[in-house]
């Protein structure tokens, strides 16, 4: 089966989200933040077309938006917000609408996109960017061999979880459960 890049992000946030997506699918509550995020993405695209590549410290390059990517080798697919094609290679850009700092789950989501780009273009991807709306901060993420190995390991774990249909333990960070959209399905969290 083909997993989605978003699944890696969700699995790292809390493995139970994968359970509620694939093993025992439940209705997902769409929070206002998700709706706003979608709208902001559209706005980001409109503005980004007019901007230079200075934020990414690039002199030249071609932007490509919402590219569907798939890799049978990895068993992974996803739609990348934006990537910049330069003569030296591709650079993935993942857009996040949040006031806080990007989390590790966002980092590995970006690494997964980088791996998909590598398969699509046949060139290694060394860096990627996390673009934060509204602060317009750009975080550079290095795509290391370890990070790639980590993503592959996570993909195996996710596939394993779905195959065995085990109910995984919730995230150890209890704070994440407070406003979780799946909270009403977990009977054992605060």
């Amino acid at each position: 089966m083909t997993l989605k890049v978003g699944d890696i992000k969700q699995y790292l946030y809390c493995p139970r989200i994968i359970y509620y997506t694939y093993v025992a699918p439940v209705d997902r509550k769409v929070t206002p933040k998700m709706v706003y995020g979608k709208e902001e993405h559209i706005e980001f695209e409109r503005l980004e077309r007019r901007r230079t590549l200075r934020a990414y410290r690039l002199a030249e390059g071609e932007r490509r938006f919402r590219t569907p990517l798939e890799s049978p080798r990895l068993g992974l697919r996803g739609v990348l917000d934006m990537h910049v094609v330069t003569s030296l290679g591709c650079l993935p850009v993942e857009v996040k609408y949040t006031a806080s700092r990007p989390g590790l789950n966002h980092k590995y989501q970006l690494v997964a996109y980088a791996m998909l780009l590598e398969d699509a273009y046949g060139k290694p991807v060394r860096h990627g960017y996390l673009y934060l709306i509204p602060s317009k901060n750009v975080y550079v993420v290095e795509i290391t061999p370890n990070a790639r190995a980590f993503v592959r390991r996570m993909l195996l774990q996710i596939a394993d979880l779905i195959r065995r249909e085990t109910f995984p333990p919730a995230t150890r960070r209890a704070g994440r459960c407070v406003d979780c959209e799946y909270r009403r399905f977990c009977g054992d969290v605060v």
Partner: protein, 106 residues
């Protein structure tokens, strides 16, 4: 964390929308253009995003401030309501003066 939301918005329609949004998030309207209540980090960000959209390009200023319990205990309230002793005293004087005037006239 306890959160204080205060705003200055000239346009009635926008101001009412901000008012309603604050109520939707369970905040208490304790003064004109001022709300107060408990909001988690996530809910606070959600509210700020909603208010940002409500205001859009229109004129106005919204201030969202989390306040810790330690600082909240240092708050000072000075309240004078219309039913105060001084005001009642004046009212009584006015009424009595009116009665005396009526008696003289009668």
């Amino acid at each position: 964390m306890k959160t204080l939301v205060i705003y200055d918005i000239p346009e009635d329609k926008i101001r009412n929308k901000v008012f309603e949004a604050c109520k939707d998030y369970g905040l208490e309207h304790f003064q004109y253009s001022a709300f107060f209540g408990q909001l988690s980090h996530n809910r606070r960000e959600e509210l700020s995003q909603r208010l940002r959209r409500t205001l859009g390009e229109k004129e106005g200023k919204i201030f969202i401030c989390p306040i810790c319990d330690k600082d909240l205990n240092l708050r000072i309230e000075i309240t004078v309501t219309s039913g105060d002793a001084d005001a009642e005293e004046i009212d009584r004087h006015v009424r009595e003066a009116g009665r005396r005037k009526k008696a003289r006239a009668g």
